[in-house]
Amino acid sequence: MFEITLYHYLVLSLILFAIGFIGIIISKNIIKVLICIEIVMSAINLNFIAFTAYKNYLFLSGMIFALFITAISALQTAIGLVLIYQIYKNKEKITSEEIEELKG
């Protein structure tokens, strides 16, 4: 078998990033947008860990940063869910096409 180099991981994280990004832009439902943000976060995580593992595994900052990103993404999701819930309570709809207060 061929060896799994750094580049495979980077391509994987790029694919995940692209999927997540397109999901953010395209999704009509806001909860889908949240999920896709998670996907993007995990892609970034993968990127960091891949670099640390293949280049300099004694350089712990990369790993620690990955832990930080995980924690913060969890927080972010929580807060996002609260905000979505408030929007739902006020408006009864959570599709991005119908929330256009900032228009104009």
Binding site: I24, S96, E101, L102
Partner: protein, 608 residues
């Protein structure tokens, strides 16, 4: 005598002082004491009269003396304007006439305006006019002359618009002021030209800036420096100013509109004093005039005399007729100047002032008796007020040059014009028409059936003023000796008597025996008012066009800028569609493009 000579300025400032007293009295609302107002005014004029008579004697004999005194007013490098007084025989004569007629008219006005409102305002304006006219007569240089020239115009405008509640009065006052303004602009242009000549070409002037005593010096210098056509053109600006002020053709329209003023004002300003300002100006700049200009003055004076007399024949409004008569007589005065005899012009002016003032005062009485100034509304006044008829006849005889003062002056004029047949013919034609229209008016108004509603006026001041004026019309005739009774004299008298008879027949038959076309021309005042209206409308069109440009081009420019800005901002604001995902995609795409550019530059740098 020194007291009078040193205090000439008192004549000028006393009316101004009285004017200020009346203003403060009217504003502080002390009791409006009409007698005191008129009394103070008359006292100031009387003082002026005493001064001017004393000074007239002083400068006349035994040899001509000139009193001159001035102080520097405005001084900027080469422009050094002085103000002061200049008293020589010309100004002394004008001053005496002004003070005398002014005094009599003030006394008359007290009676005339007694029952009308705004009495003190009238006297404020009269005093102001006195001040301005005195300043004009006593000016030692052209600039002070212009200052008081304009102030006299202002005083005349304020007095014309006195009855400001009537609509036609307001329109007339406006027209008068604007036509006078046109003449003033021409005069100012001429003065500025002269200032230019004086500053540029003449470094050492013997006296102050543009002084009248310098004019001989000017004349000699300028003749050699400029082209004669340019010189004549510049001086014709002065002539235009004088012609407008003295209501010559084609500028006589303002005098006709000025008849909306109260009648004593017409007597004072528009027959005896202000309209003489034009003649005064020409006399003052006489040393500068070349032969061509004198010819122009002569011809224009004659044209005015004949045309205005022609229009006056068919007028039915007494004041209009007298206004045209004034223009016509002033034209004869300009003719005298054009024939290079200034003393004749001055004597003619003196006698005409008194005569015309007398006729206007009679008109004042007539208008108070009959409440109208149209001849078709009045008849039979002789049976009501016999003395008024006598006064009118005396004035008419003097105006037509048949007897009293007018005879002397007319005879002098004819003697001066002796050698020139065509001028003589025109002067005689004018005197025929003058006699005709003034006596026709007499026969129309004073003869005929008496109307029941007329009552004689019993106002002492008015009668006193009238009687005194009559004395001054009669007397000068006997002061000057008649040189000889020659053919010309007899011819003139014969023409006059013929005119009186034709006037009598014309008023009997109630029509004038001239071809109907000429009659139509005369009655419509040669269509000159229509010409003025047309010019006014033409200018209205120009103003309208400029306004359209302002509204649509310049404001349109601003509006187009606004519209373009709004359009662009509308397009760009479509980018904000309220959808956050769109914003996210904008930012990521921009980052992507920047990254691509950086990569591209990095690889270009790597390669080279």
């Amino acid at each position: 005598m020194d007291f009078f000579a040193n205090n000439i300025f008192l004549i000028m400032f006393l009316p101004l002082w009285i004017c200020l007293i009346i203003i403060s009295g009217a504003f502080i609302r002390l009791t409006e004491n009409r007698k005191m107002t008129a009394f103070l005014t008359s006292i100031s004029t009387l003082t002026g009269l005493i001064f001017s008579i004393a000074l007239f004697n002083y400068v006349k004999s035994p040899q001509p003396i000139v009193i001159e005194d001035s102080f520097s007013w405005l001084n900027i490098d080469n422009l050094n304007i002085y103000l002061g007084v200049l008293l020589d025989s010309t100004s002394a004569i004008f001053l005496v006439i002004l003070m005398l007629i002014s005094l009599l008219i003030q006394i008359y006005s007290y009676g005339y305006m007694k029952n009308k409102e705004e009495f003190s305002k009238y006297f404020i304006y009269l005093n102001f006019f006195n001040f301005a006219m005195t300043g004009l007569i006593l000016s030692p240089n052209l600039i002070q002359l212009y200052i008081f020239w304009e102030l006299v115009g202002v005083a005349s405008y304020l007095l014309i618009g006195f009855f400001h509640k009537k609509e036609d009065v307001s329109l007339s006052a406006k027209k008068v002021f604007i036509i006078n303004r046109f003449g003033d602009t021409a005069l100012l242009a001429g003065i500025i030209f002269f200032a230019y000549f004086s500053i540029t070409y003449m470094n050492q002037q013997p006296n102050e800036f543009l002084a009248f005593s310098d004019l001989d010096y000017f004349h000699n210098q300028l003749q050699s420096l400029t082209y004669p056509n340019v010189y004549n053109l510049v001086l014709s600006l002065f002539l235009i100013g004088a012609f407008v002020k003295s209501a010559q053709f084609p500028f006589q329209q303002w005098l006709i509109d000025a008849m909306k003023a109260p009648t004593p004002v017409s007597a004072l300003i528009h027959s005896a004093t202000m309209v003489c300002a034009g003649i005064f100006l020409i006399i003052r700049i006489y040393p500068l005039l070349s032969d061509e200009l004198l010819k122009i003055i002569l011809s224009l004076g004659l044209i005015t005399a004949v045309l205005c007399a022609f229009i006056a024949i068919s007028q039915n409004n007494i004041k209009k007729m007298l206004a045209y008569s004034t223009s016509s007589q002033l034209g004869l005065m300009f003719t005298a100047i054009g024939l290079q005899s200034i003393p004749v012009a001055i004597i003619y002016l003196v006698i005409h002032s008194f005569t015309k003032a007398l006729l206007f005062l009679c008109t004042g009485n007539i208008s108070q008796i009959s409440n109208s100034i149209e001849t078709k509304d009045i008849s039979g006044l002789r049976k009501i007020d016999f003395y008024l008829a006598i006064y009118w006849i005396i004035g008419a005889l003097s105006l037509s040059g048949l007897f009293f003062g007018g005879f002397t002056s007319k005879e002098m004029l004819l003697n001066v014009a002796e050698n020139n047949k065509s001028i003589l013919f025109l002067i005689l034609l004018t005197s025929f028409m003058s006699t005709f229209y003034i006596f026709r008016t007499y026969f129309n108004i004073f003869e005929g059936n008496k109307r029941e509603e007329y009552k004689i006026i019993n106002e002492r001041t008015m009668s006193f003023a009238l009687m005194t004026m009559v004395i001054f019309v009669i007397f000068p005739g006997f002061l000057f000796k008649v040189s000889q009774i020659n053919m010309l004299c007899l011819l003139a008298i014969g023409i006059g008597i013929t005119a009186i008879f034709s006037a009598y027949f014309s008023s009997k038959c109630n029509k004038i025996m001239i071809p109907p076309l000429l009659y139509k021309l005369s009655q419509n005042e040669l269509f000159i008012p229509n010409l003025y209206n047309f010019i006014g409308r033409l200018f209205n069109l120009i103003y309208f066009a400029v306004n359209i440009i302002d509204k649509y081009v310049i404001e349109g420019f601003i509006n187009i800028t606004v519209k373009i800005t709004k359009f662009i901002s509308n397009i760009i604001s479509k980018l904000q569609n309220g959808n956050i995902q769109t914003y996210v995609s904008y930012s990521i795409f921009s980052i992507g493009i920047i990254l691509l550019i950086i990569l591209y530059l990095y690889f270009m740098a790597l390669r080279s």
